[in-house]
């Protein structure tokens, strides 16, 4: 790694490499490149949340114009799931959520497919419905997956057959009874919110064809090209190498395009169509409801503290509403357990975090990966504790802020790479002018209040999470960087270009980053998610750069007749450090060097780099002890709101976030990530909730009725980065893509609770709810 103090590109606001392309509408997303002979699909979805499928009449659809095939669950006897194989590609025998796909039409055109879908008649026998995790856990609750005991699953996941529990993660740290005995004050409260959705602007889509030599060619809006390859291989018993996945730039992922989505069904349909390319694309309504979103939560926190405000123990129950299928929820709930204390020193911690089946649309990975849920619960509990102790809620957090030397829920001791949480709280306090008070009466009906919360997150990754990088060179001395990182809007290709440019002492104009990830030529990479991409792919990139430089120097040393140690590479040249006039222009050496008489040596320089997560371990199934966390990015957030107590309506005036990221590679891009995630957090807390009728049918399954933030809703944003270095991060950097969303529900709930003088323990925080709880009646 280069010396850290003379950086020329890292830390600068390099303009995005894909900027001009995007503002001219030239980026080719998955649906922009149709394949010749492509076939189209349309779905039939269940109008029931829980029902037996009695019959599906397909005969009229099969005869309809342009229809190539009509398929139901009976055609595809597979059970698929990344961690727990519980879901057929189309519903088989019964449906477990409103919107579950029961049939699919393949036709020559999309119109013909949609026409034919209307001709399918399905008859159902409705079954008793489970509307929440608490209901699902009752003794007399219907068991949604009767065959849970026979499902394949990874070892780390522990489903409980005969119940609706797909996984239970336990944290048993210290001694909880002792913890509560040592407390002067104990609070206990319940919290909840319903499922939501990612609402990326590009709906999910996958196009699959099978070549005549049986090579499965997948093109998909995915964060996980290699993940798709792996999972397809294991689901359908195809060797990895016979599956090629292409990941073009993605129109927003937020976790919803990680793992596996439409690819298995698209493959099965292409197989039925003799390998012809089949485009499986969701309408917005299907993406909101039929395809997975974010989990709902029911939680109970019991928290004990001394009268000085030192936390002594926490007993936490997190019930994740995973919906009809487990998908990622088994791991999301697990990751939540590992961080369930929030970024606070709690030596006695008992957590049970369950992923629970219900008859709701199912959940997948979502920005924050369980950390919004755990954070909401613990941050609300902290505020309630602060109120009971009659203590400033910010002070309570300061007192208990976790630091290097303290232990995490999985009993790791935090090392010197640990961020400065107190510093983050101080910054947020400064931005929101917290010392001036967190409650101000503006008029008879209007108050202004503030709330804060802390957050932390480590990437929730397998112990063998890997990344790679390849550098090749062009004859003008510029270089091509190929990694497995997908550009989903987070700016990764620009960040990696900056790292590469810094290594070579050039501008990013000399670095061309490969834009489409293709599994047969891009280096293997776990998945673009978990806020680990810059960290891991960044490390691999640096290694590839160093490797390339070493190889250049090897050839150059022969030409310049010196030792390799005497050489440096910068500004497009390799030169002798103390005799700068003895140099070779990179373009003349990177693909082989020719002496004046024609003799040539060397050859194309190819730099390679790799990274694998270091020292991660599995955890003990009884106590949760282990090391699943690579690095923790932590920080604080706060909001200021203005509330009209007459009707509960409110406006978020300010939102502040201070996060310790080690180093900022690109300040504008980093800010954009944090602001975007805060905006998502505001929506998550206030409007983004699926609404159900008493039969758990979704009432707001269109973009007209499921609301996200609009232009003009945005508050004044404050973003500050602290820089306690991550010693093993690229240039000392840590991940930051998700963290900004995590503390917002807690901070906003705190501010609004302050306004009405009553603890608001549910979301979404709508004006009606606020007014009901404490408005002027």
């Amino acid at each position: 790694m280069k010396k850290i103090n003379n950086l020329t590109v890292i830390g600068k606001n390099t303009e995005r490499l894909d900027g001009m392309e995007k503002v001219n509408g030239n980026t080719r997303y998955t649906d922009d490149l149709p394949l010749p002979g492509m076939l189209y699909t349309a779905f039939v979805a269940s109008p029931h949340a829980h029902a037996e499928i009695i019959s599906i009449e397909t005969i009229y659809a099969e005869k309809a114009k342009g229809v190539m095939g009509v398929f139901t669950g009976a055609d595809f006897p597979y059970l698929i799931g990344l961690y727990l194989g519980d879901k057929p590609p189309l519903a088989r025998e019964k449906v477990r959520y409103f919107g579950e796909p029961v049939a699919v039409i393949v036709a020559q055109t999309e119109s013909e497919a949609r026409r034919a879908a209307k001709l399918i008649k399905v008859s159902y026998n409705p079954l008793p419905i489970i509307a929440s995790p608490v209901e699902a856990l009752k003794d007399d609750a219907p068991v949604l997956h009767e065959n849970l005991s026979s499902y394949n699953h990874i070892d780390a996941i522990l489903p409980e057959p005969g119940t609706n529990v797909s996984n239970r993660t336990k944290i048993r740290k210290g001694n909880i009874e002792k913890g509560f005995e040592e407390s002067d004050t104990i609070i206990e409260e319940h919290f909840s919110f319903p499922p939501g959705d990612h609402v990326f602007m590009e709906d999910r889509i996958a196009i699959v064809e099978i070549r005549s030599d049986d090579q499965v060619m997948i093109r998909s809006s995915t964060q996980s090209p290699f993940g798709v390859q792996n999972l397809m291989s294991s689901f359908f018993d195809i060797p990895n190498g016979k599956i090629t996945v292409t990941a073009p730039p993605v129109g927003g992922g937020f976790g919803g395009k990680a793992g596996i989505q439409l690819e298995p069904l698209a493959y099965l349909l292409s197989k039925k169509m003799d390998g012809r390319p089949v485009r499986v694309a969701l309408t917005r309504e299907e993406d909101l409801v039929s395809a997975p979103g974010s989990a709902g939560l029911q939680a109970r926190v019991r928290l004990g503290a001394t009268k000085e405000g030192i936390l002594t123990g926490a007993d936490i129950l997190l019930l994740f509403d995973s919906g009809g299928y487990a998908d990622y929820a088994v791991n999301v709930s697990r990751a939540a357990a590992f961080a369930s204390s929030g970024p606070y020193k709690i030596d006695n911690l008992k957590t049970d975090s369950l992923s629970v089946y219900t008859n709701h649309p199912y959940a997948t990975a979502y920005r924050g990966f369980g950390h919004i849920e755990l954070s909401y619960a613990i941050e609300r509990a902290m505020d309630i504790m602060a109120a009971k102790l009659d203590m400033d809620p910010l002070k309570l957090r300061m007192i208990n802020a976790i630091k290097a030397g303290d232990s995490t829920p999985t009993q790791n001791i935090l090392d010197k790479n640990t961020g400065n949480l107190k510093g983050c709280l101080e910054k947020v306090s400064e931005r929101l002018k917290w010392p001036e008070g967190n409650y101000l009466k503006i008029s008879e009906n209007i108050v202004r209040t503030k709330g804060v919360a802390c957050f932390w997150k480590a990437p929730a990754i397998p112990t063998n999470t890997e990344a790679g990088a390849i550098l090749t060179f062009n004859n003008d001395g510029s270089m091509n960087l190929s990694t497995g990182a997908v550009e989903i809007g987070q700016g990764i290709i620009t960040g990696l270009a900056q790292i590469t440019a810094e290594e070579f002492g050039v501008s990013t104009e000399m670095v061309h980053v490969v834009r489409e990830i293709i599994t047969d030529r891009s280096p293997h990479d776990w998945t673009t998610a978990a806020s680990r991409t810059l960290f891991m792919v960044g490390r691999a990139t640096i290694m590839a750069a160093v490797d390339a430089k070493n190889k250049i120097k090897k050839t150059a040393s022969a030409v310049l007749l010196c030792s390799e140690e005497d050489l440096e590479i910068s500004k497009g040249k390799v030169f002798i450090r103390d005799e700068k006039d003895k140099y070779i222009t990179l373009g003349k050496i990177v693909n082989g060097y020719s002496y004046p008489n024609g003799t040539s040596i060397g050859g194309p320089i190819i730099g390679t780099g790799q990274y694998i997560s270091r020292h991660l371990t599995n955890v003990d199934p009884q106590t949760g002890a282990g090391r699943p966390a690579l690095e923790w990015t932590m920080g604080a957030e706060g909001v200021e709101v203005e509330v009209n107590l007459e009707d509960g309506s409110f406006k978020v005036l300010k939102a502040a976030c201070a996060m310790d990221v080690g180093r900022v590679i690109n300040p504008n891009i980093a800010r954009g990530q944090v602001v975007g995630s805060m905006a998502m957090g505001i929506g998550y807390s206030t409007t983004e909730a699926l609404e159900f009728d008493k039969n758990q049918k979704v009432l707001n399954g269109t973009l007209r009725d499921f609301k996200i933030q609009r232009y003009g809703d945005h508050p004044e944003y404050f973003v500050d980065f602290l820089t306690t270095p991550q010693q093993d991060g690229p240039y000392g950097a840590r991940g930051l893509g998700e963290q900004g969303i995590i503390g917002i529900p807690g901070a906003l709930s705190a501010a609004l609770s302050k306004a009405v003088g009553k603890q608001l323990n549910r979301m979404p925080l709508t004006p009606e709810y606020i007014w009901n709880e404490g408005g002027i009646k």
Binding site: R16, G19, V23, N26, D32, F200, R284, I708, Y711, H714
Partner: protein, 154 residues
């Protein structure tokens, strides 16, 4: 009275080019632009009028092409993102972080361009009225606000 009973040969004026093509009266403008004219810059996001990624200009006014029929635009000047020549606006979007994943960007720029062409120095309120027609999930709108305001300053 003009009658279009069936599949039609029509001429559409798109980005200052007269394009001859064959359409059904029931074809939406969005699908005709993407599938028949292969102008992929205009995106599909909801086909319900809610998200704005399909926004084009009809005679300079922003219109959601998913809710417009190709056939009702035979006499109009249609401008897609490919035909927006507002370089200062585009450069401002790049400089001021007006996008991240880029999927909403075509529609956002087409609408912002129509704003700047209609109102000389739009106020915050006027900017809001126009741009609240377009959803963005990535930026939180801060970068978009900067991009548009900084274009106005020039």
């Amino acid at each position: 009275m003009k009658i279009y009973s069936d599949i039609q040969k029509v001429v559409l004026d798109v980005n200052n080019e007269k394009r001859e093509l064959v359409i059904e009266p029931s074809d939406t403008l969005l699908r005709v632009l993407r599938d028949k004219l292969e102008l992929k810059g205009t995106k599909i996001g909801c086909e319900h009028g809610d998200c704005g990624v399909c926004t084009v200009q009809i005679n300079g006014k922003a219109v959601k092409s998913c809710l417009s029929l190709a056939i009702e635009n035979i006499e109009s000047k249609i401008t897609t993102i490919e035909g927006i020549d507002n370089e200062p606006l585009k450069k401002s979007f790049v400089k001021h972080q007006g996008f991240q994943c880029g999927y909403c960007t075509s529609g956002m720029i087409v609408n912002a361009d129509s704003l700047l062409k209609s109102i000389d120095k739009p106020s915050d309120a006027e900017t809001r009225v126009y741009l609240e027609s377009n959803l963005c999930r990535c930026t939180g709108y801060e970068g978009i606000e900067s991009a548009v305001k900084n274009t106005v300053k020039l």
